[in-house]
């Protein structure tokens, strides 16, 4: 096999015991890193060494490791999910970094995302927003035949684009105001673009936006950092759709 490229990097990692304690950076050397490793596999190796040395491993959340569960995420060199475009952190590979580089790793920061430990943050505020209306209220067993309501392909495709959101919170972390507008806009659009979503359209947007505000997320000031950070390339058009729906409610 053509020998895999090996690099050495220095990590500056945010360490914080829990939400109450103050955090700080610690520095670790990651040596002999195979560039075909994923970023999280590199952290695994660092953690194995920390554990054997009797130290506390870096807490970071992850699960599917293939970019769909929305569990992973951190700021890497100032970018949510790292430097690559349109991927989650678990999909970033070490080939995106240079030999000798220093990599700064911090948690997603937002008032509505308290730190659990190190890089792991609590994003349940997003669940509470969904609970306020991010669904169509149909009870099990009530549904008509799936072909009873045809849906224009274009509307359905746009709804799918919006529904692709994995709820990782990168949009919030990237936003200068820590706004969740892209997250909420995506859900409002997903439902609002479909005929099934019409009956609850007004109350959905009102209730979700109200919950977003009360969770301490900021307002959207059109910086569009959210779209740039989104691993699923969710468009800011969804924010515009949300705003249109709010205006229609006639506050």
């Amino acid at each position: 096999m053509a020998k895999d490229k090996i690099i050495n990097v220095t990590l500056k990692v945010w360490r914080q015991k829990n939400a109450e304690s103050k955090g700080h950076f610690e520095t670790y050397d990651a040596k002999d890193v195979n560039v075909n490793m994923s970023f999280l596999e590199m952290l695994d190796v660092v953690n194995e060494d920390l554990i054997l040395a009797g130290k506390s491993p870096i807490a970071f959340d992850h699960d599917c490791r293939e970019g769909i569960c929305g569990t992973c995420g951190a700021m890497v060199n100032g970018y949510a999910h790292g430097p690559d475009k349109a991927v989650t952190l678990c999909q970033v590979h070490m080939r995106s970094f240079k030999n000798g580089e220093t990599i700064v790793i911090e948690p997603f920061r937002a008032k509505a995302f308290p730190v659990i430990k190190d890089l792991a943050v609590d994003r349940r505020s997003m669940d509470r927003i969904i609970a306020k209306g991010g669904y169509i209220s149909v009870k099990t067993g009530n549904a008509p035949d799936a072909h009873a309501t045809p849906v224009q392909k274009k509307a359905s495709d746009l709804a799918m684009d919006a529904a692709a959101c994995v709820g990782c919170g990168a949009c919030v972390a990237a936003c200068p105001n820590a706004s969740a507008s892209l997250f909420v806009g995506a859900k409002v659009s997903h439902m609002g673009l479909l005929p099934q979503g019409q009956p609850e359209r007004k109350q959905r947007v009102q209730n979700m936006v109200w919950q977003m505000d009360s969770e301490g997320f900021g307002n959207c000031s059109n910086a569009y950092q959210c779209e740039a950070a989104c691993p699923k390339e969710i468009s800011v058009d969804n924010i515009a759709r949300m705003n249109r729906d709010i205006n229609r409610c006639g506050n």
Binding site: S56, T71, A120, I136, K153
Partner: protein, 639 residues
């Protein structure tokens, strides 16, 4: 204890309807006083919790994730089957039933499978009503594609993320009930044990993963929907947190474990690239619709794929199975890839890979059409491998993917432990010894939306004492909490020299070598000897970081690996005991001259359900005989 499937009598296509009428009901006003614990918020758990709450039950929903939406179901890519027959290509409930029984190599219960096929139709209706954005055609109607093991197009899909879209639907339904107060949500909780009082499941003990606090929760019934155990192999396509813990602890409290040796190896995954590998990535089976699988005809042909002319390629699936071609069921596609590699025709430097080639499809349909179908999968492949599948064929190899075995359940999805119900991948019920693609999502949602809401009431109304008051004040809760905590402290106290992952990797390698794609007596006996040794070493030499009162991921893993170390043994034992080949269980001693799996219906047409007797003591085997009335067993022929 006798194993009674409680299948209703009568013709297979009438069983479920008549059973629904015959089952006892709980009066709507009384449901509010009944507590149900649902562990797991994947497709099975979320759909069950939401539907039970809609009926009026008081539901407590638990998951290990920070949010219910992160359950492993989210990773499903390819699609979900349903016998809608929208394409008018001859599909029907009966055909889906038939394909599933046959695909499972005649090791599933006919009545369960038929019910699944019936419910499949309603699942699509339900999901569309929830706003699941399934792919549509220009006319605005739903699109379908085909999957392995079927000759009709019955798979519904939402780009390459069907699982996420279905889960968002079920999660939405769950959150709706959370908002209404019908469901209380307990996230970041790991179930460590089940509490059995007077022979009935009456609650669970969990660890709060944030704080380490051990908590008790009581209920009138417990529903487990905690997923499969594929991570016993360490490397698999499962998410990292997938575990056997909940099922295993229930097993230790008396629930039988059925067919643990039935594991599915998925044929199209990205091959292992190094020792640091932490998991394997699936490339959806839907790719086999347009991709052609091949290897070089000559052993050790190291030319680049594009430099190998047509006449030097062997499209071995098309050659050996002309009528199904690249769409043979998973077990066959996997075994054939292994066979080619074993013969020295595997590609890449490791020789453990075959090609999946889209060149012909791109020429035929155009790059845009392929992109529309598989764009995100191609991107994912590129991101991981740094190779462009639009230009070079993908390299793929089989990997552990799904587990057909699970806790034994009767027709009502109740285990032999009264009050304990098991849904989704965690039970053993519908797929026999091999699951067809796009059928797990269907089963999870059938169990959760349509089966358990009917059958749980029958348990409550038909079982003396089921609705007696329960409370965590009962001494059994305290006792169970103490045991759970003692085990945690024991793990933390070892303070050895090897990490949890290191042990897990070793166990995984052993299982892959000896109890993986092909098994034989010698290898299984070796594993049976080695597992207890490894387990002993684990308990005397593992190093777990930190302490209990913390967000401690090292400790979480340790508990799960400790359970895999026990579970692995019954899995191997089951594989050893099953002296036949069927579906995903391939015993090298039992094959036809052409190397296909050879069943032994006379001696093994049964479910093997194991009873726990102690960690270092042999489990007891119970058998549930299987009867095939509507789909008479035949040799599975995909030629």
């Amino acid at each position: 204890m006798s194993l009674h499937s409680k299948e209703p009598s009568g013709p297979v296509n009438e069983k479920w309807e008549s059973h629904k009428f015959d089952m006892k009901l709980v009066n709507p006003a009384n449901k509010r006083k009944v507590d149900v614990i649902v562990v797991g918020t994947g497709l099975a758990g979320a759909s069950a919790a939401a539907s039970l709450a809609e009926l009026g039950y008081n539901v407590k929903s638990f998951c290990i994730h920070e949010s219910p939406r992160r359950a492993h179901s989210i990773a499903a890519q390819g699609g979900i089957n349903a016998a809608k027959n929208y394409p008018n290509d001859g599909d029907s409930v009966h055909r889906l039933f038939y394909d599933t029984v046959k695909g499972g190599d005649f090791r599933a219960r006919e009545s369960n499978v038929h019910r699944l096929a019936e419910n499949s139709v309603k699942i699509i209706d339900q999901c569309v009503a929830q706003g699941v954005p399934f792919a549509r055609e220009y006319g605005g109607y739903l699109a379908n594609r085909s999957f392995g093991g079927a000759q009709v197009s019955r798979t519904f899909y939402a780009r390459g993320q069907t699982g996420q879209q279905l889960l968002i639907g079920a999660y939405g339904a769950l959150m709706k009930e959370v908002d209404k107060g019908g469901v209380t949500l307990f996230t970041h909780r790991e179930m460590l044990d089940i509490v059995v009082i007077d022979g009935k499941a009456r609650g669970i003990v969990v660890r709060n993963l944030r704080t380490g606090k051990i908590e008790s929760h009581s209920a009138h019934a417990v529903v487990l929907a905690t997923g499969g155990y594929g991570n016993v192999f360490y490397l698999s396509t499962n998410a990292k947190a997938c575990n056997v813990t909940a099922a295993w602890r229930a097993h230790k409290k008396g629930a039988y474990f059925a067919n643990p040796c039935y594991t599915q190896i998925h044929p199209t995954c990205i091959p292992v690239k190094g020792d640091f590998q932490s998991k394997l990535t699936l490339m959806s089976e839907s790719l086999r619709n347009d991709g052609r699988v091949w290897v070089p005809k000559k052993k050790g042909d190291k030319r680049r794929p594009s430099a190998i002319p047509e006449e030097d390629r062997d499209y071995y699936l098309e050659r050996k199975y002309p009528s199904f071609g690249n769409l043979v069921p998973r077990d066959m596609a996997s075994r054939n890839a292994k066979e080619q590699s074993d013969e020295g025709k595997g590609v890449t430097e490791t020789g453990l890979a075959v090609y999946l080639d889209f060149k012909e499809a791109i020429e035929r349909l155009g790059k845009d059409a392929i992109k529309a179908r598989y764009g995100n999968l191609f991107d994912m492949y590129f991101q991981i491998t740094d190779s462009d599948p639009y230009k070079e064929p993908m390299v793929i190899y089989p990997a552990v993917h799904y587990t057909m075995g699970g806790l034994w359940v009767d027709y009502n999805l109740m285990s032999n432990l009264p009050g304990l119900h098991v849904l989704g991948e965690a039970n053993f019920s519908d797929h026999g010894s091999n699951r067809l693609g796009a059928s797990a999502l269907m089963q999870g949602l059938s169990d959760g939306y349509f089966v358990i809401p009917n059958t749980i009431g029958h348990y409550f109304a038909g079982t003396p004492g089921a609705l007696d008051d329960v409370s965590t004040d009962h001494p059994e809760f305290k006792k169970t909490e103490d045991e759970a905590l003692a085990r945690i402290n024991k793990l933390l106290a070892v303070n050895g020299t090897r990490t949890v992952d290191d042990f897990h990797r070793e166990l995984g390698n052993l299982m892959w070598d000896k109890c993986g794609m092909a098994r034989n007596k010698e290898g299984l006996e070796f594993a049976l000897k080695r597992i207890p040794e490894l387990r002993k070493e684990f308990w005397s030499n593992v190093k777990v970081a930190g302490d209990n009162e913390d967000y401690n991921q090292s400790l979480e893993k340790a508990g799960r690996v400790a359970d895999f170390m026990e579970f692995a043994e019954v899995m191997v034992k089951d594989a050893l005991e099953r002296e036949e080949s069927c579906g995903g269980h391939f015993r090298e001693e039992h094959q036809t001259e052409e190397g296909e799996a050879k069943r032994d219906d006379e001696n093994f047409s049964h479910v093997s359900a194991w009873e726990f007797t102690g960690v270092d003591s042999a489990p007891i085997l119970h058998k549930e005989a299987l009867e095939f009335v509507d789909v008479p067993p035949s040799e599975r022929n995909y030629k």
